[in-house]
């Protein structure tokens, strides 16, 4: 993809090195994809093309139910966080109050503290208040980091917003609520959506926090994958990787498109 016609200028060692690094990023994924079509169960050598692992994926009730759990957790956690995180970002941009820097620090904590520490703390907390663990405790724990990430993304956009927009709306007779919904919110929408995408991907990818807060009832996709791959290579996991990589590639491009549109809008201002 980086082969350009301007070979004279681009054939530097940096170009070759970059090409090598692109290979480093993509060859492992490519190898997974190739092996996912391999007939053999012990996928070290190629025994023939087959779609059997994709077929077994579709009939794997356990895997599909873990996918359902993951989507359920991610959609609810992101939905709640979109509202809470946006409110938090707007509140932080709009008001000064005592303890604000403390509040802001707390809002950024989930971005900084390693997952394992958050997971452990949440488990200890849930056990000590006697709260029984279920899929809902995973959701509650995911909201913590989802709302932080969304708030950060929205804050960045808020900081670049024209400060006179809301004033203009108020001068033209809008109530503060109208001004927010009709003027500010549409401006923030690209940021809210890309924050949501980021939070969704993080929630779908989370192994540790879900493992620690799941209890017996729930089993998310990363937990299921982890349980299977820690004991070695599984050909149906190769097939699953390909499906998930394609899905996340689509998400990535959706997010890029949103960012691009947000930029275009900003340039139009």
């Amino acid at each position: 993809m980086s082969d350009q016609p301007k070979a004279k200028r681009t054939l530097t060692w940096q170009f070759l090195f970059t090409l090598l690094m692109f290979a480093f990023m993509y060859v492992p994924i490519l190898i997974l994809a190739i092996y996912s079509f391999n007939e053999s169960r012990f996928s070290s050598n190629w025994t023939g093309f087959s779609l059997r692992w994709y077929d077994s994926l579709l009939n794997d009730a356990r895997l599909l139910s873990s996918l359902r759990d993951s989507l359920f957790v991610a959609l609810i956690a992101v939905g709640v966080s979109a509202i809470l995180g946006t409110m938090m970002a707007v509140g932080l941009a709009k008001y000064r109050f005592p303890g604000k820097s403390l509040y802001r620090g707390m809002a950024y904590l989930p971005l900084i503290i390693p997952d394992i520490a958050i997971a452990v703390a949440t488990l200890v907390f849930l056990v000590s208040v006697g709260f029984s663990r279920s899929i809902w405790t995973i959701i509650a724990a995911h909201i913590v980091f989802c709302l932080s990430y969304i708030a950060v993304v929205v804050s960045t956009r808020l900081a670049g917003l024209n400060p006179h927009l809301e004033e203009a709306a108020l001068d033209l007779g809008a109530t503060p609520v109208q001004a927010f919904i009709r003027v500010i919110l549409p401006e923030l929408m690209p940021a809210i959506l890309s924050g949501c995408l980021l939070a969704f991907v993080l929630s779908m990818d989370d192994l540790l926090i879900a493992s620690f807060t799941a209890g017996g009832g729930a089993n998310t996709l990363p937990m299921e994958i982890f349980g299977r791959v820690r004991t070695g290579i599984k050909p149906d996991i190769n097939a699953l990787s390909v499906v998930l990589i394609l899905a996340s590639g689509l998400l990535a491009f959706a997010s890029e498109y949103l960012r691009y549109r947000g930029d275009q809008k900003r340039l139009g201002n």
Partner: protein, 306 residues
């Protein structure tokens, strides 16, 4: 995270309400509705739990359902025992090693994309490079099992060109490769943001004044992008220090790290919650220390963070 300078508020202050009482009410109701729900959520599910493990870490050998011992520093002292101290060093070694590796590998890539590649391709190139970040980190680590295991792709290739096979899986080289693979996109992303803002007139000025490209690179490019380098290193350092998936899947029994040890205290065989809590506190402390160092020496405006 710091007392960084507040950007001017893009939103107008709420318009004054007519009567005194209503003004007072609306003065507090709006910020409270906006900020209290998230604040309470974070207090309840992040701050309170963290304080709770701080307390547990001070109860030596706390196990669920057992009589609690009086407060003491036993859990922290346990970390310094000869079996656990190497775990701390190994985690630091992995974190520093993968930070330096991603910096060395990532800088030329970010440099080429930001400064040498044709303008209209830059965005697409960057997005393609960080695309793997969007996929499951578990599966990205898993991909390396297929490559590095004794009968895997690497040894097949090495065998075909007549080189001796390597047994890297479940040993330290596999963890380094896996971490570099996981965190290289972050490094490139942050270095790119910094290199893109580089004032190219400075490079021209340096050339006009007789500097060789190497001199210009070391005297202009590196100092100009230093905040980005520091922020990228911090991000990779923090992520790899707390990483569980890569050492667990690729490291085998010989590469015990702090996060794996913590995991074992809670979901593994040991179930020593007190010790696990003290390890978590040490991890949080190490991360905070790295951030404090960055704020003090690296990135004075904090503009590359958040």
């Amino acid at each position: 995270m710091s007392t960084s300078t507040q950007p001017p508020s893009p939103l107008a202050d709420p318009s004054p309400a007519p009567s005194g009482l209503r003004r007072k009410l609306s003065k507090w109701i709006e910020p409270l509705t906006l900020l209290a729900p998230s604040g309470l959520w974070l207090l309840l599910l992040l701050v309170a739990p963290t304080l709770l493990i701080l307390e547990l870490s001070l109860i030596p050998g706390f196990r669920l359902g057992q009589a609690t011992a009086p407060y003491g520093l036993g859990n922290y002292l346990q970390i310094f025992q000869p079996i656990y101290l190497p775990v701390i060093w190994r985690s630091l070694f992995f974190a520093i090693g993968s930070t330096l590796t991603t910096l060395l590998l990532g800088f030329p890539v970010a440099y080429w994309i930001a400064l040498i590649a044709p303008q209209r391709w830059r965005n697409l190139l960057l997005v393609s490079f960080i695309l793997p970040l969007w996929t499951s980190s578990l599966l990205r680590a898993y991909a390396w099992i297929a490559i590095l295991r004794p009968t895997g792709v690497l040894n097949t290739v090495l065998g075909a060109i007549g080189l001796p096979g390597q047994d890297w899986l479940n040993r330290e080289p596999a963890v380094f490769i896996g971490m570099a693979y996981s965190f290289l996109p972050y490094m490139v992303l942050i270095l790119y943001a910094s290199l893109e803002k580089l004032d190219k007139r400075l490079l021209e000025a340096a050339a006009d004044l007789g500097a060789t490209p190497q001199q210009a690179f070391w005297k202009v490019t590196i100092p100009q992008t230093f905040p980005g380098i520091a922020a990228g290193c911090l991000l990779v350092f923090i992520s790899s220090l707390g990483d569980f998936v890569v050492p667990e899947l690729l490291g085998g029994a010989s590469s015990m790290t702090v996060s794996r040890l913590i995991y074992n205290q809670f979901l593994g065989a040991t179930l020593n919650w007190g010790f696990g809590s003290s390890l978590s506190m040490v991890l949080i402390l190490a991360v905070s220390l790295a951030i404090a160092l960055l704020i003090k020496y690296g990135d004075k405006n904090g503009e590359n963070l958040a």
